[in-house]
Structure formats: C-alpha cells, structure tokens
C-alpha cells in the first residue's frame, strides 16, 4: 500500500467534524413532531395495556410491572421479526426513548451476534448497547441511595 502523503492525513476528530459539516441538516420540525406523536402513541398504548391489567385485578401500583413486560415483549418480537428497524426509521426517538428502545437494543445485539455463538455471541454481546444505560443508571442510583442512607 502506498504511503498517504502527510498533507492528506486527517485525524478521526477532523473526519467527524467534516462529516458533520457535510451532512444535510435533519428536518428538525418534522422529526420532532413525528417523535412526539409516535412516542405519545407508544405511551398511550402502554396506558391502555396498564388499564387492562388494572381491570384484571392488578392494583394501579402493581400494574406498571406487567405493562413494562408486555411492551418489552412486543418490541422484542418486532425486532426478531425484523420489523422494528422500519418502525425506528419512521419514528426516531419515538420508539428509542420508551422502554421499547431498551428492549430493541438487547434483542438486536443478541440477533446480530448470534452467528458468533451462544456464549461469545449472544451472551457476551447482548448488552453492547444497553450496557451504558444500565451502568450509568446504577452509578446514579448508587450515589442517590448513598446520600439518602447517610443524610
């Protein structure tokens, strides 16, 4: 391979800066409204499910748990069927911010690395995206909990 002349070399930082400048600006208002309505719809559906569980005899406090499980199941199944990506492209943050995004990140990573095996693929890579959410959640909760325990 021929050596790259010194003046053509750029750092990763400079590349990111260039790529950012060249990328067309996202249609802000459209994206924001799409995220608002789709995210609202996800939570509305969640509320319908939650009220369903309350009607089945769960207390309002307890009903949040089976609701989360149901929503996670739906998101995980849609990911398995290959449909979640289409939905995510349409909705942006509307399906990324609710727990659907969390479930999708676990299932998608597990699927993507399936070919590397049960242990080194699915097992090791499942948390490759969700890991940081769990890590920083636990660190925050640890500090908050410690403060509450000590003061």
């Amino acid at each position: 391979m021929a050596a790259v002349p010194e003046e053509l070399k750029i750092t990763a930082e400079e590349y990111r800066e260039l790529a950012r400048k060249e990328k067309p600006p996202p249609p802000l208002l459209f994206n924001a409204l799409t995220a608002f309505f789709s995210g609202g719809a996800v939570c509305l559906l969640g509320q319908v499910i939650q009220n369903g569980y309350i009607a089945f005899g769960f207390s309002p406090e307890e009903a949040a748990n089976p609701t989360v499980v149901t929503v996670i199941f739906i998101a995980s199944l849609l990911t398995g069927l290959g449909l979640f990506d289409h939905l995510a492209n349409l909705t942006g943050a509307g399906t990324a911010v609710p727990v659907t995004g969390f479930a999708n990140s676990l299932t998608a990573a597990a699927l993507e690395f399936k070919k590397e095996g049960l242990v080194l693929g699915i097992g090791s890579k499942m948390f490759s995206q969700a890991g940081s959410v769990i890590l920083f959640g636990v660190v925050t909760a640890f500090v908050v909990g410690l403060i509450s325990a000590l003061f």
Binding site: A35, Q47, V97, A103, L106, V133, F136, G137
Partner: protein, 117 residues
C-alpha cells in the same frame, strides 16, 4: 395513575426532547439515552419522578428515564430499611421485572429468529 391524554402528552414530550437532542447535539443516541437514565435517577432521588408518574402513568413509566428513577427508588427504599447495605441489596428491586423480561425475551428471540438483511 394518569389518563390517556396525559400519558400521550407526557410520553410524547419525552420523545420530542429526545429527538431534538438526537438532531441538535453531536452526542450519539447511546449518550442521550444514558443521560435520560441519569436524569431520571436524580429526579427520582428528589422524589419528583413519582409525581410525574402519578400525573402521566405510562407516559412517565415507559420512557427510559423511569429506569433511572426505579433504580434510585429501589436503592433508597432499602437504604431506609437497612442502612448503607440497602443501597446494594435494593438497587434492582424495582427494575428486576424489566431487566429480566428484556434478557429472557431477547435470548429466546435470538434463538428463534435469524437477523434480517
């Protein structure tokens, strides 16, 4: 525990804020979702997030910030009961359902399906 209207509006607002952060900041979705969880944990520590759940139901309990709130609340509840060790024993008390469900479903979906494309 929230009406359909408040669930829609508050849930939608969370996602709208998320989308603006996706589009307007150089951070990746991973950074931003982690930020949501941290914010939820702090609001939980201040006792504010539960008020939002009272108001918006699933509109506040489904966005990922609720995960941070539930972690902090679990740690605080056990800390009040057992002292410092409770921070560790209570950490996953309230989030266990979601994490366990996500792991189990993801595992079986990965066994059942093959990646598309």
């Amino acid at each position: 525990m929230g009406s359909y209207l408040t669930a829609f509006l508050v849930g939608g607002l969370f996602c709208l804020i998320g989308q603006l952060l996706f589009d307007l900041t150089p951070f990746t979705p991973g950074h931003i979702l982690s930020g949501f969880v941290v914010a939820g944990g702090i609001l939980g520590g201040l006792g504010l997030y539960d008020k939002l759940i009272q108001f918006a139901g699933a509109g506040a309990s489904l966005p990922i910030a609720s995960f941070g709130n539930a972690l902090a609340k679990g740690a605080m509840l056990e800390a009040a009961r057992r002292g410092v060790i409770g921070v560790l024993t209570g950490m996953f008390e309230l989030t266990s359902t979601g994490i366990t469900a996500a792991i189990i479903f993801s595992f079986f979906m990965a066994l059942l399906f093959d990646p598309k494309g």
